[in-house]
């Protein structure tokens, strides 16, 4: 799960409290499951412990607790590194690619460069799988075909994403 990095991305535009982070996440991923408040505060607590975010304002009293968090320099570096590295092209990692791509576009990162690196990573993995024949047991070739087909599907989706990003850059 890359919830921690997404929270860093959501704070990259400026300090915010947990409620804003949750609403921001749900706006980035409108068709997926909303982020639970509990998870937001747990994540912010862990990020604060690790020095990636800091509390810049805290008010309490009659209303709800209003703790405002901000990205630290270490947190910004961590976010930049995360957005730079392609996701290992392994089984079930497509969600992580989506998270990174959305975060890169939303935070003004170089999303096209990320897609290019991710394409390269996927293509290399397909070549490795094609160059090394699968074991000749009853299921290894089936598993191999599954992985290659899913990597190919990711690549086709990345192609479409790259086109959309490029069109947006042209129209801006």
């Amino acid at each position: 799960m890359a919830t921690a990095e997404l929270v860093l991305g959501l704070l990259s535009g400026g300090p915010a409290h947990g409620y804003d982070v949750k609403r921001g996440h749900d706006a980035w991923f409108p068709d997926s499951r909303p982020l639970a408040f509990g998870q937001v505060y747990t994540t912010l607590g862990r990020l604060e412990r690790d020095g990636l975010v800091e509390v810049v304002e805290k008010t309490s009293g009659g209303g709800p607790d209003r703790t405002v968090y901000a990205l630290t320099g270490k947190g910004r570096d961590h976010l930049t590194d995360w957005l730079t590295d392609p996701v290992p092209p392994a089984w079930g990692n497509a969600d992580e690619i989506l998270r990174k791509l959305v975060a890169a576009v939303r935070t003004g990162g170089d999303a096209a460069a990320f897609v290019a690196r991710q394409r390269a990573s996927h293509l290399r993995r397909i070549r490795e799988l094609q160059d090394n024949p699968a074991e000749q047991d009853p299921t290894s070739p089936i598993v191999r075909d599954y992985i290659v087909a899913h990597l190919d599907a990711d690549l086709r989706w990345l192609d479409g994403a790259l086109d959309r990003i490029s069109q947006q850059e042209v129209s801006e």
């Binding site: 290019a116 690196r117 293509l123 290399r124 070549r127 094609q130 990597l151 086109d163 490029s166």
Partner: protein
């Protein structure tokens, strides 16, 4: 420094008022396998046809092994294309009603080799691509995969330094495509031939050592694989 097998500098090409290529530059080194990718209409086939000398760019230079095509006489340019560049198109483009062995021998005959010598080499290449048993068949008697193998043999028979392939597996099923790709890749790996493939197929692009992606007639990105 190695002389690039193929060097394109600021290539521009227009189809009437539609600009297909807008200043594309790239270098391909001997033995490199390069996939040119991009959406339909991005200019990738036009680029390949300019590199092959099938189309003449409106601007820019094409150099094959350091020789600029535009600086050569028409005869020298044709000779260089026949001996240094092998071309494989999507549907083979073999000469109908001509036996496979004669189709494959054709570039050697045009380059001045004797009929018997061309015949021997053509048979050898048909063997290399696994269809020596079909030497006396004509294209209409064979499958798309067999014809495409013959097209690859014809492209390789002169020992070119560059093979330019436009969707080489596009007309084949996945198994025949994979086998054909293997022949092309082996030629590049073991003979030092530079292989440039235009493809929209990610499984073909994955065989390359570099991907050059075009969008709207310009290089969008270039990555080492």
């Amino acid at each position: 420094m190695t002389t690039p097998a193929l060097e394109l500098t600021d290539i521009e090409y227009k189809y009437r008022r539609n600009v297909a290529l807008r200043g594309v530059s790239l270098q391909i080194n001997p033995g490199e396998i390069v996939a040119i990718t991009g959406a339909s209409g991005c200019g990738k086939s036009t680029l390949l046809h300019c590199a092959a000398g099938i189309l003449t760019p409106d601007a820019g230079a094409v150099r094959v092994n350091g020789q600029e095509l535009a600086s050569l006489s028409a005869d020298d340019r044709a000779a260089l294309r026949r001996t240094q560049i092998g071309v494989v198109l999507q549907f083979g483009q073999l000469v109908p009603d001509v036996k496979l062995v004669d189709n494959v021998a054709l570039p050697l005959l045009l380059a001045g080799h004797s009929r018997s010598e061309a015949h021997v080499q053509a048979l050898e290449w048909l063997k290399q691509v696994g269809i020596e048993g079909e030497a006396d068949a004509v294209p209409a008697e064979l499958s798309g995969g067999q014809n495409q193998r013959a097209a690859v043999a014809r492209a390789l028979v002169t020992g070119p330094s560059i093979v330019l392939a436009d969707e080489p597996t596009g007309s084949l099923d996945s198994r025949a495509g994979k086998e054909l790709l293997e022949v092309l890749v082996q030629a590049a790996r073991y003979r030092g031939t530079a292989l440039v493939m235009v493809t929209h197929d990610n499984l073909v692009a994955a065989s390359a050592t570099r991907e050059i992606r075009l969008r709207d007639g310009v290089v969008q990105h270039e990555v080492v694989l």
